[in-house]
């Protein structure tokens, strides 16, 4: 049993060291760590640093100004302020730590158990937590003080209990998020005990949030404790920053610096803890930060607007002899600027065209750039994407003119929805669950076609019948969660043809559907395409879908176009080795139980 423990420790170190490097590189993180180390050093070395006992009173020297023996002067009964500050650090920090420890000891294990097992323990624990959270904290602390006396330790233990629900909820939520992950299932199959599963697979998930929460909780504990003591509810015989603050406040007119030093110490400690919490969080989420920085400066609004208007007039002419193509993409390149100034190209030198009434398939594996190409025609690339080369023309006009570095929204938005429509991959996530299907069909039609609601409604009914929905009225009134995935895709297809487009871009329209439903949806798309004479750009990874629908095919690999041609030619006699490899990977027509990849061909 020693082996897994050792291994998991090693893994932990690797991850933690990386996080620590990131914290240290963050100026806020390094500042926070410096402040807190200083405070902790002060607390640990209190005996060495302080020249006097914190309660040693020199009645002959009260409210003295700083001098050689009393570095920061003395207070109203002649105690050395520096010594009290140093010993106060020890008491204050230790009591904050005690508070956090109590909260963690109660909250973490109960949260782990409640989150992992659920059931009755979870229900009971939630009740207890709700009661604890509804208690007014300050009143409880005052009651505890009245019952047990003014001990800072007892009040911090009580406060720890009051804060434990925070840890419980945090742990429970994190655990619930991972307890059904497949790697936890795999560990169960491997026969790991629940204890080992929690220790090895679950605890790593809650470790980071617990550290962040603890930094915050320590800060809160210092603030509350100092607050209570400032009000005079602390133990006057123990030197803490709060007691010093209270003492300084009484003498604020005689010596204001008495207030300054404990206030500074409290402020720095709490600030340091909060910053540390933030730095740890940032270090864990560094991916997000780079993205934010990557958002390149938008072109200055002032100069750009007239230029683009001039552009629009200028770009009206495309190369002679290409006007008749519905879509023509020439030498298109799409890239994403990186933090270091370079550009990561995802589409490189892609050219093809699509004529009216034609179905063109773009085939490729994940990461081949096929969707990025389709989205540049739609003008729906992410904000940070750049057109790094080439141009796109639609029906004789440029949507991306040579030299443009973004898709002109002015030009595309007047086409999108009217002349170019879109069928997405995930039907369910493309319907808004808050609105009825009817509403989601009618509203765009009223907007785009400028027709009345009654007219749009009757058109929507007809469209739903057209896409093979048996009871259009019922579907019209239904919410998306009330219909199946195949039905939802039919609704989206109805939406796509509702404004009589010239071009439909379908991005893996059947990938999320069951095979039998896929066949029905393919039939529907084929029928509609024939009936409406619309051009279809079909993005897919499935050669079966290609052979079912397409007239011509474009094969893409790693952002490049490797082969283009009529569907029969590409599928029967592919000339490019990559296309051959793709088709060779198909299972159809293979002798079962034989190897698919010839020796030496493995990637």
């Amino acid at each position: 049993m020693s082996q897994p423990a050792a291994a998991s420790g090693q893994t932990g170190t690797v991850v933690r060291s990386r996080v620590i490097t990131r914290i240290l590189k963050n100026p806020l993180g390094i500042t926070a760590i410096a402040i807190l180390s200083l405070m902790i050093l002060m607390a640990v070395l209190a005996n060495v640093l302080a020249p006097f006992d914190p309660n040693f009173a020199n009645i002959g020297k009260t409210l003295a100004s700083p001098d050689a023996s009393n570095l920061l002067g003395t207070d109203s009964v002649g105690r050395d302020v520096w010594s009290r500050l140093v010993f106060g650090a020890r008491t204050t920090l230790l009591s904050a730590l005690l508070c956090a420890t109590v909260a963690i000891v109660i909250g973490l294990p109960t949260g782990l158990i409640a989150g992992y097992y659920g059931g009755k323990f979870d229900a009971v624990a939630n009740w207890v937590v709700n009661i604890l959270m509804s208690l007014p904290g300050i009143i409880v602390l005052l009651t505890v003080r009245a019952a047990f006396g003014p001990s800072v330790w007892i009040s911090m233990v009580a406060f720890g209990v009051l804060l434990s629900p925070g840890y419980f909820r945090l742990t429970r939520t994190s655990v619930q998020a991972v307890r059904n992950e497949l790697y936890v299932d795999a560990a169960r199959v491997a026969g790991l005990s629940d204890g080992s599963i929690i220790a090895r697979h679950i605890f790593s998930v809650v470790r980071a949030p617990i550290i962040i929460q603890t930094a915050m909780v320590c800060g809160i504990a210092i603030a509350i404790q100092s607050g209570l003591e400032f009000l005079g509810l602390g133990d006057p015989t123990v030197a803490t920053w709060g007691v010093m603050l209270s003492e300084g406040f009484k003498n604020v007119y005689l010596n204001p610096t008495l207030l300054l030093w404990p206030a500074l110490a409290i402020g720095l400690s709490i600030g340091g803890l909060v910053l540390l919490g933030n730095a740890v969080r940032d270090a864990l989420e560094d991916g997000v930060k780079i993205k934010a920085r990557k958002a390149a400066p938008a072109p200055a609004a002032g100069g750009a607007a007239p230029a683009s208007r001039a552009d629009r007039r200028k770009v009206a002419t495309v190369d002679a002899g290409t006007e008749h193509h519905l879509v023509k993409v020439s030498h298109l390149g799409v890239g994403y600027p990186q933090a270091d100034g370079s550009v990561k190209k995802v589409v490189d030198d892609v050219s093809f065209h699509l004529d009216r009434g034609e179905v063109l398939g773009i085939v490729g594996e994940s990461g081949s750039g096929k969707s990025q190409t389709a989205f540049s025609i739609l003008g729906l690339l992410p904000d940070n994407a750049r057109i790094v080369a080439g141009c796109i023309q639609f029906d004789g006009n440029y949507t991306v003119a040579p030299g443009d570095d973004v898709v002109s929204q002015g030009r595309v938005s007047s086409l999108r929805g009217k002349r170019i429509s879109y069928i997405p991959q995930e039907p369910m996530s493309n319907l808004d669950p808050a609105f009825t299907i009817g509403y989601q069909l009618v509203t765009p039609m009223m907007r785009v076609l400028g027709i009345s609601k009654a007219e749009a409604t009757s058109r929507a009914m007809k469209l739903l019948a057209d896409v093979g929905i048996v009871s259009p009225e019922r579907t019209f009134k239904a919410y998306p969660h009330e219909v199946s995935g195949g039905m939802a895709q039919r609704v989206l297809i109805a939406g796509a043809i509702s404004c009589e487009p010239d071009l439909i871009i379908a991005d893996e329209p059947t990938t999320a559907l069951d095979v039998t439903v896929q066949a029905d949806v393919l039939d529907l798309i084929r029928d509609l395409q024939k009936r409406l004479g619309v051009g279809v750009l079909l993005v897919t990874h499935n050669f079966g879908v290609v052979s079912d629908l397409c007239d011509r095919v474009v094969v893409m690999q790693n952002g490049r176009l490797v082969e283009e041609g009529p569907v029969r030619e590409i599928l029967r006699n592919p000339s490019d080795p990559y296309t051959q490899k793709l088709l060779g990977s198909m299972l159809e027509g293979k002798e079962p139980m034989t190897m698919l990849v010839p020796a030496g061909m493995e990637a």
Binding site: Q3, T11, S366, D514, S547, V567, L587, M595, L596, V597
Partner: protein, 299 residues
């Protein structure tokens, strides 16, 4: 390749490795005193040593639940699961630990089936450590496993995120192989992979079976995948097995109307043959519609 002609022999081997008899799986629903949700009804399957049983069906048909019930991850409401003669329907965690030597799993999603914060070496050593192997033994075995699934040996100290989907699935396969099991439940192991990667991983599954004689319960929604890798095939529909038999029979000339629909729904990569298949499918659907209508009239 002399091996290439090997299998499809498994039927001859005697004893069943796994027998599932009249299995029912029900999940309790949230509502108080509501009827539980029945995910599986009266399931009967068996797998012999060295044999692959393909389990095919659409989403929600219960094929994944059946795999999970065999692994002890789904509640067995009625019926029995027997492995090597022992009833494991309600095995305790301790019995599962014994069982994990012989019964393993490869899940669908190679992105969530590996703990993102653990190095490949520790992931692969985990099942070995549970069985009480020493770290040195485990390390040697991990090297062997990486070699077996075609991953570089420096993978030991790397994290899952440094690998592509296909490579991660190899790690998951290596973890399943760690204890040289007799049966591996494969739950859609190639569905999340690209076409070329799928081919490579399927080859790996076949090669491992040839080398080690392991049995697979191979769950997939793709009839072509199941046809390629299975000796026998069971078709699931709405929580029941509607058809079961030798792969070449069930996936080429099926008897049940649902399997027939499934077969003709899968498009083939040639426009003219696909047109033919499409016409066949429409004819079949029309025929089945008439049959149901007539049955309705008769009743």
């Amino acid at each position: 390749m002399a091996q290439a002609t090997a299998p499809r022999h498994a039927q001859s081997a005697g004893e069943n490795l796994l027998t599932v008899d009249s299995l029912v799986v029900e999940y309790p629903t949230k509502h108080f005193r509501a009827k539980p949700f029945r995910a599986l009804t009266d399931i009967n399957i068996s797998i012999k040593p060295g044999e692959t049983l393909g389990l095919v069906g659409e989403s929600g048909s219960g094929k994944t639940t059946l795999g999970r019930a065999v692994l002890g991850l789904a509640p067995v409401t009625a019926g029995t699961v027997t492995f090597e003669g022992n009833d494991i329907s309600h095995a305790t965690r301790k019995q599962r630990r014994e069982l994990s030597r012989d019964l393993q799993v490869v899940f669908q999603d190679p992105y969530t089936s590996l703990n993102p914060s653990m190095e490949i070496g520790s992931i692969l050593a985990e099942p070995l450590g549970v069985q009480g192997q020493s770290p040195a033994q485990a390390r040697a075995r991990v090297k062997e496993l990486l070699d077996q699934v075609g991953l570089p040996s420096d993978a030991i100290n790397r994290l899952p995120r440094e690998f592509s989907g296909g490579q991660r699935q190899r790690v998951a396969i290596a973890r399943a192989l760690a204890l040289s099991p007799k049966l591996i439940v494969c739950d859609e192991p190639v569905s999340a992979l690209d076409l070329t990667t799928q081919a490579v991983v399927l080859d790996l599954f076949l090669q491992i079976q040839r080398d080690t004689g392991v049995s697979y319960l191979f769950v997939s929604h793709d009839l072509d995948v199941v046809r390629h890798i299975s000796h026998r095939v069971a078709v699931m529909y709405h929580g029941e097995i509607v058809e079961q038999g030798p792969a070449d029979q069930v996936t080429v000339a099926p008897e049940h109307p649902y399997t027939q629909r499934l077969l003709l729904a899968s498009p083939v990569p040639d426009p003219d043959r696909q047109e033919q298949r499409r016409a066949d499918r429409h004819r079949l659907l029309e025929l089945q519609r008439q049959t149901t209508e007539q049955a309705g009239v008769a009743v």
